[in-house]
Subunit: 350 residues, 2 copies
DNA sequence: GTGAAAGCGCTAACAT
DNA sequence: ATGTTAGCGCTTTCAC
């Protein structure tokens, strides 16, 4: 192995490695990409040359020929009428939920040397641009976190036949891959727990009816309550924000002042609701037991600490990555979904 | 203009556009990159051809020759001993603060068609990899959010002479560009406000001494209090988390039970502190006035709502992007910093 | 099993 | 002012 090749000031290329190893570029390329047809002896020399030169493949060059960029987009998408300055969406990145998704996906991507490009799309030009990137091969696929049920992006992505995985089932019936948790089962756990501790007058603050998560949690909760003999459960819809939780709680209290159990469709709203309950002189859990959903960081910052249904968001995000990769590697692969089971985390509020 | 060129099933290339427009690739390239030497007439024909074909430049090809990828990394970095599962860092992405930075930077980048790659680096391999990407030209530059003062990354980036901008001034004296707010001035506003409303026994929950923000806010606060005749201000250090705020408040109360004013170095800790105060039977602001720092979303979810020093985080992040671009465009450009002024947002806690 | 050679789509000299 | 040409660094037939 020829060791006195001058080290270039630019990053070493395949060519350099090849010269150092005394072989051709093609062989080095084969070694790097793990193609079988390589003599172990030669492979070894090449490996040493790679180490000696500190060679790292150039992504752009590789992307140009393979038509894969080894980058996926994590997109937070919303319909046109939802501005990211809205309380609902302004939260998008600030929301602990988003942080967990990003975190889980990142861990899985980093292991594979894939880059994660963060994008926010909430208007037609942005959607067109995203599609352009995909079609053009600037991005290999997309992990999408839809924040509203009316978002047109999932359908566009599906029709463009582009690798995509959604967080949560799509609002419309769509042939699209997604990762979700059994929202209804989670809500049922909340119901069982509330009933189990003896609550008789139970209500719920549910999520927006046009979001699958909102709808499923409400249905699951009502079904389980019915099973326990509570045919009717008062529900007020909130928008998944802290303030939304406050207003919903106010409305609920006005209507049913003697509640002794409450299921809130996410922790942020539960936090708001608990503030209102305290202002109203209700003790939690003595007067009214409260169960949230998500197990986000805010569940630990309520007083008392929030009992809540935990979604394994990080693992779900990791699963999204794995699923997306199968689609990227085989464009013909049929859509699939991966469903996780939530768990009840019992703390002090119920 | 030749319009009957068959549309390729692959994304159109410069070549296609050139054929449609009846000119050479070079000319099309020139109009796309806004090089002057183009006949307005021809430029117009080319523009139409671009529109007709739906042409979008291929990033990989462009990156290969220009040695610019038009992508910057937003890195959340920490020293080796800080695991991202720590309460301190687990927050990283979940922290509303991070969300604001990402949001502000993204807006500025999107306007320029630059991609934002999210990275988390908290060990040596990750640091080496990041440096490799930079040196290799896989990434044009980095926006760094250091979460602890002892982080070695800023120095490494500086020494590698790579385009980088920090959020907040570096912990060490380093020739590095950064964007910051006048932390001491912000803390002084809190002091003035507390003294202005008549507080006599004032303490502070400060941030980690090894973070510039923590240190500056403490110094600024003490200096301003001294100016008002309060030579000594009790301080307990917290770690910028909700729980940290709780423990610090507990310690403070044990030591100085009769406080009537409190400055907390960030909103998250203020939230925790207020919970402890309530448990201790202290009314805010009647018994003790509380001022936070940041004006993050949690400032609106405390009871009473938190009076706090606002940092214009989104604008600061946008400034980081602009500063970074100057470094990317001119590698020899001397380091610079941009400093913003915080403002006091008066709500109900003080 | 290995090398030679062609190109991926683009920009930037260099000619004209 | 425009076209021609030579690569950027890599993968991938296709010969051998």
């Amino acid at each position: 192995m020829n060791t006195d090749v001058p080290s270039p000031r630019r990053a070493p290329t395949l060519e350099h490695v090849a010269r150092v190893a005394g072989v051709s570029r093609a062989t080095v390329s084969r070694v790097i990409n793990g193609v079988r047809n390589v003599d172990p002896e030669i492979a070894d020399v090449v490996q040493r040359a790679i180490a000696a030169t500190g060679y790292v493949p150039n992504r752009a060059a590789r992307a140009l020929v393979t038509r894969r960029t080894f980058a996926v987009a994590l997109v937070v998408s919303a319909p046109d009428d939802v501005a990211f300055e809205d309380p609902f969406l302004g939260r998008a990145f600030a929301d602990p939920f988003f942080g967990r998704v990003a975190s889980g996906a990142l861990a899985e991507l980093a292991d594979r040397d894939l880059h994660m490009i963060l994008m926010r799309v909430n208007d037609e030009p942005a959607r067109a641009e995203l599609l352009g990137h995909l079609r053009h091969g600037d991005i290999d696929g997309v992990l999408s976190i839809p924040v509203a049920g009316t978002d047109p992006l999932p359908r566009m992505l599906t029709e463009a036949r582009v690798p995509v995985v959604l967080f949560g089932r799509p609002a419309d019936t769509l042939a699209i891959s997604y990762v979700d948790a059994t929202q209804d089962a989670g809500a049922a756990m909340a119901a069982d727990h509330l009933v189990g501790r003896g609550c008789q007058r139970v209500a719920t603050i549910c999520g927006p009816a046009d979001t699958p998560a909102g709808a499923d949690r409400l249905t699951g909760f009502r079904t389980a309550m019915a099973r326990h003999g509570h045919a009717y459960v008062p529900a007020v819809e909130g928008n998944f924000t802290h303030d939304g939780g406050e207003s919903a709680m106010l409305a609920l209290l006005r209507h049913d002042p003697d509640l002794d159990g409450l299921f809130v469709a996410n922790d942020l709203m539960a936090q708001g609701a608990m503030l209102v309950l305290r202002d109203a002189g209700r003790r939690v859990p003595e007067d009214i037991a409260v169960v949230g959903f998500d197990d986000s960081v805010v569940a630990l910052s309520t007083r008392p600490k929030l009992t809540t249904v935990r979604q394994p968001v990080e693992e779900m995000a990791a699963a999204m990555v794995r699923l997306l990769l199968t689609h990227i590697e085989d464009r013909a692969r049929p859509v699939a979904s991966v469903i996780f089971e939530p768990t009840l985390v019992i703390r002090d509020s119920a």
